[in-house]
C-alpha cells in the first residue's frame, strides 16, 4: 500500500522569504508524485508532477520540487513567496497504471506581509 506524509500541518512565512513544504511517501512499487494547491472554497489545482527523468521538477507560479528516491521525499520549494500563495498544499502519489491519487493531509501555507 502507498501512503503520503506531510510533515508540517502549518507553515507561516513572511512575504518574499523562501519556503519549503515537506512530503515523504511510502510505496513498494513505482509511483508518480504530484503537488496540488487548494485556495479557499475551491477545488484542487495541479502545481507540478514527477513522472520520470530529471529529479528537479518545475511547476506553475514559481514552484519547484525535487524527487529523492533514496529518501522517498518530494519536497516543494519556492524561493520567494507572495501573499497570494496563501493556500492549502497537498502532496499526492499515484500508482503506475492507475488514476487513483493518494493524498497527504495537507500543509497550510500562510504568508504574512
Amino acid at each position: 500500500a502507498q501512503s503520503v506524509t506531510q510533515l508540517d500541518s502549518q507553515v507561516p512565512v513572511f512575504e518574499e522569504a523562501p519556503v519549503e513544504l515537506r512530503c515523504n511517501y511510502s510505496s513498494s512499487v513505482s509511483v508518480y508524485l504530484f503537488w496540488y494547491v487548494q485556495y479557499p472554497n475551491q477545488g484542487l489545482q495541479l502545481l507540478l508532477k514527477y513522472l520520470s527523468g530529471s529529479t528537479l521538477v518545475k511547476g506553475i507560479n514559481g514552484f519547484e520540487a525535487e524527487f529523492n528516491k533514496s529518501q522517498t521525499s518530494f519536497h516543494l520549494r519556492k524561493p520567494s513567496v507572495h501573499i497570494s500563495d496563501t493556500a492549502e498544499y497537498f502532496c499526492a502519489v499515484s500508482v503506475a497504471d492507475t488514476d487513483k491519487l493518494i493524498f497527504g493531509t495537507g500543509t497550510r501555507l500562510q504568508v504574512f506581509p
Binding site: 495541479l46 508532477k49 513522472l51 488514476d99
Partner: protein, 114 residues
Amino acid sequence: DAGVTQSPTHLIKTRGQQVTLRCSPISGHKSVSWYQQVLGQGPQFIFQYYEKEERGRGNFPDRFSARQFPNYSSELNVNALLLGDSALYLCASSFRTSGSYEQYFGPGTRLTVT
C-alpha cells in the same frame, strides 16, 4: 474550454436521506474520479469510472455508488446519509484511463448533513 463542472455547489440534507451529485468532465476526457474531502483532511478516493465501467473503488461503504453516462458525465449517489458524510465532494477528469496523467478537479460540491 470549460473545466470540470459539478452540481450543485452546496447541499444540505438530513440524516437518512439520499443525495445525488453530478459531474461533467472536460470535453474529450473519458475518465472520471470521485473524492471525498472532510474538513481539515486530504481528499480520499471513492471511485474511478472509464467508458462507463468502474475501474477503481476506495474504502467506502456500499451506501456510496456511482455511474458514468455515454457522454462521460457521472453521478455519485450516497444513501442513508450519516453526519460523517458531511464533506466536500470533488470530481476529477482525465484523458487516460490509467497512468500518471494529469487529473483536473472541479470546484466540488459541499454536502452538509444535519
